[in-house]
């Protein structure tokens, strides 16, 4: 077992997409461990608290008229003229990786164990050692066209501080309504339509004393984690799919084991979209987006060794924790295959919990029948009386419903 370290730098991140075409930032073997840093793509919402003085974060968010350290952000076009910027923000998450796993081949399953997760403290003199995160109630949120107060519509950014002194929890520091921001290349962003745009704090009005007396229990986790899909070279990081990605389940934190089907040689694992807390549904569009560092262990399960194990025939991401198993249903289990060439854009137009529920039902039935060797009738009876279905997210274009079954059910 070797231990690797993967810090964030322009050379070790890719922004807004999964890709089988990006050179690996790290190659390791089954059984190895790695410390991987991740940054939230919302850090520019408060540059002082979340970027300033942090060499890794500064190197990635650096963007002046002359130099944009990470130019491509999203799976969109990289040749101008741009509406929003290179990559066009079709995919927004800052992902660290890819991590290639030696000998991983399509048909295998990669197990990723999260051994530990810790927040990334601010390096700015005024806030040193404290940890911050940002929540954006954004245009892609479930609420956006259904607001009741003026001005309508509006996007609101809330900055949270994570308190780890006692039982970890987050408290709001202040919030502001998004105003049109001009990026260093001169493009105006009337809404949050491109990641990493530095917010000019002279242009926004901070409102203090918000969410007073509210303490949000922390649920440190990675919103986006997965392997490169086979279907396209550049795949938007927003819709989750069969190789994982932006699942946005807060249960994918310390102690969790995720299983992913390998779609391309080497697997190409990337992780990002770190969250300090999120509720089931991620209603407003984002969680408390806060940079985190994780300890990971990678175990490759070769196809030939899968027979008779819980991973046999696995074609979708699967979560195991100490207490439960969860499967992830999506509006489209594999939107890339189901929707054809325009899938990455079109998927958002079909968003539906009803279909996600159906997919979650089918996957959990399969899990109970293959892994626990139940008959179909047993599986269906058990799902009705003991499995819980919840709304994972309604904001990532390919909506999610998870189905969970407690391990304690099986004696």
């Amino acid at each position: 077992m070797r231990h690797h370290t993967l810090p964030v730098s322009p050379a070790t991140v890719h922004w807004g997409y999964f890709s089988k075409a990006v050179a690996p930032a790290l190659t390791l073997r089954s059984g190895d461990r790695a410390t991987i840093e991740t940054l939230t793509h919302h850090a520019g919402d408060d540059y002082e608290r979340m970027i300033a003085g942090d060499p890794g974060a500064e190197s990635i968010f650096r963007w002046t008229r002359e130099h944009k350290a990470v130019a491509r952000r999203g799976a969109g076009p990289t040749e101008g003229p741009f509406r929003r910027g290179s990559g066009e923000g079709i995919g927004v998450h800052l992902l660290t990786g890819p991590v290639a796993v030696e000998e991983a081949e399509p048909g295998d399953v990669l197990e990723v164990r999260i051994l530990d997760v810790r927040p990334r403290p601010s390096r700015h003199a005024s806030h040193a050692g404290r940890c911050f995160g940002s929540n954006a109630a954004a245009s892609w949120g479930f609420h956006y066209h259904d607001l009741i107060e003026e001005p309508k519509p509006r996007e609101v950014v809330t900055i949270f501080e994570l308190d780890t002194s006692d039982e970890p929890c987050a408290r709001a520091v202040y919030n502001y309504v998004w105003t049109p921001q001009t990026d260093p290349d001169g493009v105006v962003h009337p809404t949050i339509d491109y990641p990493g745009v530095p917010v000019d704090h002279r242009s926004v009005r901070r409102r203090e004393n918000i969410l007073r007396n509210v303490k949000v229990p922390a649920r440190l986790h990675f919103g986006t984690m997965g392997l490169a899909p086979a279907e396209a070279d550049f795949v938007s990081s927003i819709p989750p799919g069969y190789t994982g990605g932006n699942i946005d389940d807060w249960r994918i934190g310390k102690g969790a084991r995720m299983y992913y089907p390998v779609a391309v040689a080497g697997g190409y694992f990337s992780v990002g979209d770190p969250h300090a807390a999120q509720g089931d549904s991620e209603l407003g569009g984002t969680a408390i987006e806060a940079s985190l560092t994780g300890e990971f262990e990678f175990v490759l399960h070769k196809r030939r060794a899968l027979g008779g194990t819980p991973l046999e025939g696995l074609t979708h991401p699967l979560l195991e924790t100490d207490q439960q198993w969860s499967v992830y249903g999506f509006t489209f289990p594999n939107y890339l295959a189901a929707l054809g060439p325009n899938a990455q854009i079109e998927v958002a137009q079909h968003a539906s919990l009803d279909k996600a529920m159906r997919d979650a039902f089918r996957k959990l039935r399969r899990f109970l029948m293959t892994v626990h060797r139940l008959s179909e009738d047993e599986a269906i009876a058990l799902m009705s009386v003991a499995a819980d279905f919840g709304v994972t997210q309604v904001v990532d274009a390919n909506w999610g419903v998870h189905g969970s079954i407690r391990k304690s059910v099986f004696t």
Partner: protein
């Protein structure tokens, strides 16, 4: 209309190919060389219209598909996406997106897909385009370009069908199938390769087909005549007559037959159900109703009026086969509203006996309030409905405590274990040829005139104990129902004395029912559980299961599915499987599925769909220690409790929980509207659940379906089930709760909803589907104390 859907996602990798081939087989398509392929991804969604036209959308990866159908079918494929090549009779030609490929009379063809593809396949029985084609099509495979002309219009019509296939219902499909038949006959008629008629050249046949299409467009014109058609086509009348003669007909006869056929289609069409027969025959160019009637009888063997009645009967038979819950669509729930309920005279007379005021220790524990006991007997329950008109079986004051017995409506799945020896249960379930103690079960007609299932038609199934009137409760107030404690009801049969059992039915209204993987399909399965104590708390274990077999009730009605509650299951007809769910122990979550007040809008309300006054919420969090707040809709509130569950998961996927009789101690507290201002309960006009640690707001597809959906609410609620709507409702209620109860601004509320509130699927089986939002109390300072 029947429909099915398929996806490889239901199967583990190694079984997918076989499953996909089975699905294709239903559409007469073969996938010859996909042997051993892995990672097969494929979906199919199909439906069959009343005329027998099958629409199927299929999508999958690169492969070769082979089409050959029986001679009575014309198949037609719209290529929606991907790269494809058509191979037939040794030739290959590329197919563009939007092109149509068709095959008639069983002609074989192959499509080669080099990429992922999507296709809409339409299979049309020859009979559906009937007499429109004068000459039968020859066996051939053809292609229609989707880029111009009629082909383009047709392709676009089909493309929009492909896009909406999962949302089309029977009403919507009727005009579409007529249009498809029409397009198809026109397209085939324009085809030069049609078969030739006896004694006519191919050109003559094609001319005749073309002229017939022109006639088709003018059938409604009462002045349609040979002379005008001949003139329009630039041929002589004599030539036209000869063409028809060659086809064994005449101009006049052809027009008459086509008009009769049009009238027949309109008579079948539910959209025209209100049009008189005269209106319909005039629409198609007849000018004499009596003459039409004679001609119709001659052609179709019965007069139009009788024909129409017969078809309507077949359609309602179709409704019956569809197993709809509630009032069937198209039947106005109010127009056929059941007779008003007779006052519950017996219940009233014996009220004093039924609801004893408890004394001693129990009463003291209740503090100031009195303690009542409400047993479950045939005098204290109502079955399958809520009603503002029911005479209360108990009157209480705010603060009183009531021990309420509830019975599961599934107890007759195993009489020995759940009814026998228990006087209360026996009195409720008593049903012999001579006597059915509780006749009405459900909100349907008492004479069972819709389906014939039984009195009340099973439109609503839950045995509800109550109603209980709360003194001074008025619309606008809230009633707080505190569940102080609950216990399973022990078995009274000596053989199982003291033990407790429940039943779970994977029923036809379950989320899984239409897509079972294994045979026989479909099926309903009942699993009997025993509830017991294990080291770490109460658990449930399966005892045995059985497949539902047709059960004949004591009145002689056969129930081939679980379509009426309380039907005695004859254990001689079933095959018990022991040893199911071995080594599975389910930690129990005892709770009441139904806790509700009487709605105001309608007199007798189906107990299945939950609504703003509560009812069948089916949230397992409504257990010991929980408090449920319900808005009062009618004076006295009229609280009923039932549908007891030993355990249920979020979603209640297969249709039921572990249905198990329970007895609960409830404290009922009235919150007058004027006292609510400034409290967390201000503005609560929906069922709100409070547990020790959480607030649970309950969203439904329709917050108050009776008010929202109007007169057809009791049928439409089952037709408009959606988690998307329920999620919206849960979001709005949770936002409101945070803004009023916790005094947050909208921006604060939305941020908190995203980062700290969990939304889950309550149920997808009760018509009005549910999503709940769980707000942890410890988020707030006053909840951490």
């Amino acid at each position: 209309m029947t429909s099915w859907s398929f996806t490889t996602e239901s199967y583990p990798d190694h079984r997918r190919l076989e499953a996909w081939r089975d699905a294709l087989g239903k559409l007469s398509i073969e996938a010859p060389d996909a042997a051993g392929a892995r990672d097969v991804f494929a979906t199919a969604q199909a439906m069959e219209s009343p005329l027998g036209i099958v629409f199927a959308q299929i999508a999958s990866g690169p492969q070769r598909l082979s089409y050959s159908d029986d001679p009575g079918i014309i198949w037609l494929a719209l290529h929606c996406e991907g790269q494809a090549v058509l191979r037939e009779a040794g030739r290959s030609s590329p197919i563009a997106v939007g092109d149509l490929v068709y095959g008639t009379a069983g002609a074989p063809a192959e499509l080669l897909f080099a990429t992922s593809f999507r296709q809409l396949l339409v299979r049309v029985p020859r009979a559906a385009i009937g007499a429109r084609l004068v000459a039968p099509p020859a066996p051939r495979v053809g292609r229609l370009s989707g880029r111009s002309g009629l082909g383009r219009v047709f392709a676009q019509l089909l493309a929009s069908i492909a896009d909406t296939i999962d949302t089309l219902d029977a009403d919507a499909i009727r005009p579409i199938e007529v249009a498809v038949a029409e397009f198809l006959s026109v397209s085939l008629a324009g085809d030069r390769d049609v078969g030739t008629l006896m004694g006519a050249t191919a050109t003559q046949t094609a001319t005749l087909n073309r002229i017939c299409q022109k006639i088709e467009a003018r059938l409604g014109d009462p002045d349609l005549a040979l002379a005008s058609v001949a003139e329009q086509e630039g041929v002589s009348m004599r030539y036209l007559q000869k063409l028809f003669e060659a086809a064994g007909s005449s101009f006049g006869e052809h027009v008459r037959q086509r008009r009769l056929e049009r009238c027949r289609l309109d008579l079948m069409n539910p959209l025209y159900a209100r049009d008189s027969i005269t209106t319909i025959c005039f629409r198609w160019g007849f000018n004499d109703a009596a003459g039409f009637s004679r001609a119709f009888s001659e052609r179709f063997g019965e007069p139009p009026r009788r024909y129409r009645r017969k078809i309507a009967g077949t359609i309602s038979e179709g409704v019956r086969l569809q197993l709809a819950r509630g009032w069937p669509l198209g039947l106005d729930g109010r127009a056929k509203a059941p007779r008003p309920l007779a006052p519950a005279a017996q219940a009233d007379a014996s009220r004093g006996l039924l609801a004893r005021v408890a004394s001693g220790a129990a009463a003291r524990a209740a503090g100031d309030g009195r303690w009542h006991h409400l047993p479950a007997t045939d005098k204290t329950v109502h079955w399958g409905y809520f009603s503002r008109s029911l005479r209360p079986v108990l009157h209480v004051e705010s603060g009183d405590i009531v021990t309420i017995e509830t019975l599961t409506q599934h107890a007759y799945d195993d009489h020995e274990r759940m009814i026998k020896g228990d006087p209360g249960a026996e009195s409720v379930f008593h049903w012999t040829r001579q006597r059915k103690n509780i006749d009405r079960r459900g909100a349907g007609p008492i004479d069972a005139s819709i389906y014939g299932r039984g009195a009340g038609e099973g439109f609503g199934v839950h045995i509800c104990t109550g109603p209980i009137a709360i003194k001074d409760a008025m619309p606008g107030d809230l009633i707080e129902v505190r569940i102080l404690d609950l216990h399973p009801r022990p078995c009274a049969n000596e053989s199982f004395a003291g033990r407790t059992f429940g039943s779970n039915a994977a029923a036809w209204w379950g989320f899984h029912y239409k897509e079972l993987l294994t045979e026989p399909r479909p099926r309903e399965v009942v699993t009997i559980y025993e509830i017991g104590r294990a080291l770490d708390g109460e658990i449930a274990r399966a005892v045995y299961s059985f497949r539902w077999t047709p059960q004949t009730d004591p009145f002689g009605v056969v129930h081939s599915t679980i379509d009426y509650p309380g039907v005695p299951v004859d254990h001689a007809t079933i095959d018990k499987q022991f040893g199911v769910l071995k080594e599975v122990e389910i930690p129990v979550r005892p709770h009441f599925g139904v806790i509700g007040l009487a709605p105001r809008e309608i007199e007798i309300v189906d107990s299945i769909p939950p609504t703003s006054s509560g009812g069948n919420i089916d949230n397992w969090r409504a257990g010991k220690g929980a408090r449920l707040y319900l808005p009062v809709a009618v004076p006295g509130g009229l609280l009923s409790v039932g549908d007891p569950h030993a355990s249920q998961g979020d979603s209640e996927l297969c249709g039921t929980a572990i249905e198990c009789s329970l007895t609960g101690d409830f404290q009922l507290i009235l919150h007058r509207r004027q006292e609510l201002a400034g409290t967390k309960l201000e503005d609560v006009n929906y069922p709100l659940l409070e547990t020790a640690d959480e607030w649970v707001v309950q969203g439904f597809s329709h917050a108050n379906y009776l008010a929202e959906l109007g007169e057809r609410a009791q049928s439409e609620v089952y037709d408009k089930s959606s988690l998307d709507l329920a999620m919206k409702d849960a979001f709005r209620k949770a936002r409101r709760f945070l803004m009023t109860a916790e005094r947050l601004s909208e921006d604060e509320a939305i941020s908190l909803l995203s980062v700290a509130v969990d939304f889950g699927v309550t149920q997808v089986v009760d018509g009005n589907w549910g999503v709940h939002g769980v707000i942890r109390k410890r988020l707030f300072a006053d909840g951490r104390r």
